[in-house]
Each structure stands twice: as C-alpha cells, then as structure tokens.
Assembly symmetry: C2
Homo-oligomer: 420 residues x 2
C-alpha cells in the first residue's frame, strides 16, 4: 500500500485523557481512534493487526476442533433470568459482568451481550440430544459490551470489545478435562505466536461461582491490573486471589519460592460444570439410555486486549515493535530523493510475491519525519532507498528490533522475505 | 468437513412464527437460529455463506479504492445532537432509523449505532485538512441496530444486522460523481457475483433529506417490500415513491412503458452533499488556499439482507439453490452402503486440492433423509458414492440446478472442480 493514500496520519503529541501506553502509541501511530472512554474505532492500520491476531486465534481454535459461528448482541432477558444473571446483583454474584441494557420500541427490555453462555446453551438444546452429538466445541469472534465504571487501560479494558469465546460441551468430566488441557496448550501456542510466549504464564486462579479453580493466562507487564506469584524454576504461577497457605500446601510448594509480578490477564479458561446445562435444560441421552446434563467449559481471549498487551510488551521509546506475525505490513520502504524509480520497482516485486509492503511515498514529509513515523508504526523491516543506495545498487535494510542497518543488493531483497 | 461432526441439524417442519421463505429455509437447513424477532445467530453453515458474501463485497470495495476500518457500536450522543439525529423525531425527519439507546453506569445516555455518518465524519476531522488528503473512501462491515416496530421478513429486515457501509469524501461534486458511478458499477458486479444479476436493477429513488435523488439496487422478488416500475427495453427502473409525471417527463419516458414489480432493496447509494461536513466541520484547504466543506456520499449493502435475498430468489420446493460463489461448500458427497472407502478417498482428494467439501458420513440417516438434506442445504454439486457406483468406478454427480445426474469416473471428479 502507498502511504500517501493511507487516510490515517501519525501524530507527535500524546493524546489527551489517555494514561496507558497502548492507547497512546496506537493513537499516535494511527491504529485506533478514541470514541469515548473504553470505546475505540479500528482505523485501517489497526484493523490489519486485529485481523492478523484473529487469524492466529482462529487457526488454533480450528486446530482443536472448534467450529466458528456468530451469536447476537441483542439478548432476550428471559434466558438470563433463568440463570440469575439478569439483575446487577445476580451478575455480580457470578462473575460480575456489568450489563448495558436497552429497550424495544414496545418497551420490553433487552440485554446487550456481555457474554454468551446462556445464549449458546439454549441454541444447543435444539441440536444436542444424544451422546452421538457430543463432544462439540463452538466459538465466535463477537462484540462484548461491559458497563465498566472505569476504563483507563486503553484497548485492554474496553466497554466494547471483540472477544473470541469458545464453549465446550462434553459428555463427562473426563472428556471435558481432555479438551480443557488441549485448549490450554492451544492458548500457549497462540500467545507464543503473538510474540508474548516468553512472558506469558498459565496461572492458577479462582474458579468464581463455577468451580474451585480456573486457569488464567497472564502476561508480565507493569501495565497489568493483576498481581501473580511465580516460581520460575518450577514454572508455576498463582494469582494473588488464591495465593493462600491452603493452596500452596495443596500444590506442595513454599511461599518463599515465589516472586511477585504485575501481569495482564490475556486469556482465561473456565470449567463451568453443569451449572448452565442443568439450569437451562441441556441434557443428552447416554449410550445406556439415561439422561444427563452436558459438562461445559468456557475459553476466552479478548482480541483488543491481546493487541494492547503486545504494544505494552513490545515497544521502545520510539514506538511499537510489532512481531512479524501480527504486523500491519512486513516491510516499510522509505523513498528518499533519487530512489523513487528503484523503490517503485522493489515495491512492485514485493507486492507481486505477496509480501505486504507499505511504501512511504509521501512528498510532504522530511526524511526525519519518515524515519520517526516508521519507528512509531513499528513494521518489522524498514528499507531505505535513496540516490546514494541506488548508486551502489543497494537498499539499506534495518530490522525494527535492531540498531544497525545492513546494506543488501536491491535485487536480493525480495528473496530475503520469502526465505524468512 | 464431515457432516457427522457439524453440530447443527436440519429439520423437516417449518419453524413457528416465521412468515418469510428465507427464514424458514435457513432455519430448517441449520444456517441460522432465531434469538427473537429480527435477531438471528449465524450457525457454522450460515457463517460460511455470510463470509463468502462479505468476501465478494470486500474485493469489489477494495477494487474501487475502499479502505477497510471498523467503527464502534456505542455512540456518543453529542455528535448526533449536532446533526439533529439524536431524537426520534430528528432521526425520522432524515431517513427514519429508529435508535436503540442505552446508559453508562453514570446514567449518561449512549446510542447503539444505527448508522455511522456522524462517527466517520468526526474521525476524519483529525485526518483530512488539505486537498492532498482527498478523495478518500472508507468502509466497514459493522453491526447496525434498528429498533424496527415489525420484523417479519426474516434476515432481510433485522433489528441487528451486519452492513457494509462505505463513505466517500471528495473535493468537488464532480469528483464525487465519478466515484458514485464507479461504486454503482461495483454494486452491479457484486449482485451479479451473488447470483442476482439477472433480476437486480439500479433504480431511481428519492434522495431523502440529503439530495433530490438517490439510487437503489432492487432485486425482483415476491418477498419484496418495495414497488418499482421497470421499462425493460430501456433498462430503466424507478421506485414507486418517485414514479411521478414530473420525474417521467424529466427522464423523457412514458408511464405506459413501465411494468410494476415487487422488489427487495439489496443496496443503496446516496449523495450526502455537504450536510455532515458542514454541520460537523469537516473542511479542507483547496489548492488556492480557501476552505471548503468535503463532498460526501454513503453506500450500503446489508450482508444478511443479501443472503436472505439470494434464498428468496434461488430456491425450489425442496430447498435452497446456492450459487457456487457463496455456497457453504462446493461439493456434497453422500456415502451410501459399500461406498465408504471410495467416498473417503474422494473427500481427501477434493480437500487436498482446496475444493470445499461436505462429506455426509452420518450413520443414523436413511438415504432418503440424506438426499432431502442435501437438497435443503443446497450445495451446488452432489456426488453419490455407493456399492453400485463403486463397482463401475463411477460417482453419480448431480448439480442442484439440474434434474438428472450424470455418471463420472471417480478419478476424474477432482479435475471437474478445478476446471469449472
């Protein structure tokens, strides 16, 4: 893409009313636009990153047998009254997801989805009746709306956000546990592919109203709202909320083996037991002919939170340092005077071979402004083509993660990206 | 995909409380689930069709220079008060989009987006300042929420639906008109690729509060809520609302050249003039240094409505007849007794070459049930593999649009799909 036609612009100054690094850098780089606290538009650059993150999550969810669907935002209160999650108090008693609500023109109240356990359990009542229909694993990427009192963490805690939520439906606790572990492994692969592998821990946490324990995936970061304790040698992480003598004894570890860290909860997986299936009547006939409630689990990753966490974890004083797996483009070509013709040729060659390339062809920017923008936007590889480099038939290639550039023959650059 | 693992099931009986053919067939085929009137979940089969439709629209929008982004559902009232579209009366005076509204926990009201002109115009105030920044064309696929009094047309008039909405920003009326015509052509290509080309007309319509006229794209159908008049020989279509003596005279045509039809509005394109840019302050500096308001247009296609229209237009008494361009799968293999091994080989070969295949391997269904399901689901090509066909090294191939099958050598079937 030619940067001169990209409608968004970078800005130098930090936006007002943003405390978080992720929001500051993403707004300055032209990735997002703030509509109000906790509500952000994805501009074209931001949507590219977002789609890359969704693509990785989708691959891993399909890989463990997930089937994608898309539920609705508008919710019929009747279902939620059955499980006791319609009232604010009821919702808080479970896992505290503050509702937005609205009304039909008839005056009847509707919910604006904050989660989808009730909805999907109800849908499946029409499709699951026998042991032959199980297990099944459904997921979606859908908006969630949460009426947060404070929304100060940029896109990491938004009032409106896209979540990948998968729900598992199994015959037995054993079958459920097998999938639960498969999903935990898939989550670790996802965070590794997102560039967060070395700082993300599967973390022992409270199970809320559903079960004694659950698992969170926590990424170490000063921007985190959670406190976790890690025994690095044993690779054990425990959320502060369950870091008690009882739990430590149960796990046969000692308090002094752990260090305290701030962390961002980038994913969680929850046993739901038969709470929803019993309440809403999702039963199946066993091979022996008896009726049993389906054993459920839920598995969430917020796409925006993942994007924000990447920015919090991977940036420097000059801007974002996207991992190639989610970067909006793979290459950023900067054209300086006298390099126009060769830069254009290189751009065409890279696009032709499918290497996503941003060509900075803006005529009203100084070289300094272009370099600053390239660092801010954070595309993994920058290539400068100027009269000087062209005279030597070279391009100056610099990785965003490195300080020093290297000179590469112009005609060898396309192959550089097909090999890596 | 193996049909035995597809979680949705078909059903024989029509759903209760559905009048429209599209909702009846899509629910019976397991494409959608009704949450409440005008609110539908996309089940895996339905999401596949939906994604195919979005893919076609996206290609054509990118082809005319559109850049994709994603705006938000939650809307700050302040913007809408400026344009007079926050109150019900104000909205009705323009183009009558009934709001759903909600409240922050602070008590402040928020809108749940019914359209995005205000939002995008406001965003662009931060990115457009000079003639060099124009023209630009932004689009998104985003949920819209409309508090419809009645919602009886299935997924064709929903309370919650995904719309592709593109907005054009041009320097002059002339530049705007050039894009407007390019988009009209792209729309005709889209409807043609969706299988609706032969019955979709660019239709002269009222411009509402924005301009004297606009263009609708109307697909002839008994399920349509609109009345249009068509002069087939001259390829002119006019919406009833502007089918007046004045307009006929202006277009130099006679009333008796036209025939009346019912039609579904599958798309519309609107000149917006400078209404929003003037009210919200989206100005640009011309080459001469003066300030001018940006000339805008808006261009919508409802993805669900397009899907519903395809079903209304392309079905028979046995079920849906998807065009290959949007079908959930390209091939439906039905395995009958003795055909298991060869069917599996064929399935593997087709999947390997990227031909999307649904393999009906369900053991608890009779051949009759499988044939009925195949017709209901409407995949373009059905292949039956049985002991009888295997004995002759053949498969029985039948197109959904044709009555008679043809016998094809099993090993020639994969090539059949790479050639077509």
């Amino acid at each position: 893409m030619r940067q001169s036609t990209l409608f968004t612009k970078t800005r130098r100054e930090d936006p007002a009313n943003e405390e978080s690094i992720n929001a500051k850098l993403l707004i300055r780089g032209g990735f997002i636009h703030k509509e109000m606290a906790g509500v952000y538009t994805l501009l074209p650059l931001g949507l590219r990153v977002f789609n890359n993150i969704m693509g990785i999550i989708r691959e891993e969810m399909n890989g463990i047998g997930g089937q994608e669907m898309l539920m609705t935002t508008l919710q019929d209160p009747d279902l939620w009254k059955k499980t006791g999650r319609w009232t604010e108090e009821g919702a808080n008693a479970h896992n505290g997801l503050p509702w937005f609500k609205t009304k039909l023109s008839t005056g009847n109240e509707l919910g604006i989805a904050n989660t989808h356990e009730e909805t999907l359990t109800n849908i499946l009542r029409g499709h699951i009746s026998s042991y032959k229909d199980l297990p099944c694993y459904m997921y979606q990427f859908q908006n969630k709306f949460r009426n947060e009192l404070r929304a100060k963490s940029g896109i990491m805690r938004a009032r409106e956000f896209v979540m990948k939520d998968l729900y598992s439906f199994s015959k037995t606790e054993e079958e459920f546990r097998e999938f639960y572990e498969a999903c935990a492994s898939a989550y670790l692969r996802i965070f590794s592919r997102l560039g967060l592998g070395d700082r993300t821990y599967r973390t022992f946490a409270s199970g809320g109203a559903f079960s004694k324990f659950s698992d969170e995936f926590q990424t170490l970061s000063e921007a985190g709202e959670d406190i976790i304790y890690i025994a690095k040698e044993k690779n054990i992480a425990i959320n502060k909320e369950v870091f008690t003598d009882d739990v430590l004894a149960e796990m046969n570890v000692k308090r002094e083996e752990f260090e305290e860290y701030k962390a961002i909860e980038v994913g969680n997986i929850f046993p739901l037991g038969t709470k929803y299936s019993e309440t809403l009547g999702l039963l199946y006939r066993t091979e022996q002919g008896t009726e049993k409630p389906v054993v459920m689990g839920s598995y969430g990753i917020g796409v925006g939170r993942a994007m924000g966490t990447i920015v919090e974890a991977l940036h420097d004083e000059r801007g974002i340092v996207w991992p190639a797996s989610v970067a909006p483009f793979q290459v950023h070509i900067i054209v300086l005077q006298g390099g126009e013709q060769e830069a254009e040729k290189l751009y065409q060659a890279l696009e032709k071979q499918g290497t996503e390339t941003l060509l900075d062809d803006r005529e009203d920017k100084t070289p300094g402004e272009r370099f600053a923008d390239a660092d801010l936007i954070g595309i993994p590889v920058r290539i400068v083509v100027s009269a000087k480099t062209v005279a030597m038939s070279l391009g100056e290639l610099k990785k965003r993660t490195e300080k020093e550039p290297e000179m590469i023959p112009l005609n060898a650059i396309p192959a550089f990206f097909t090999q890596s």
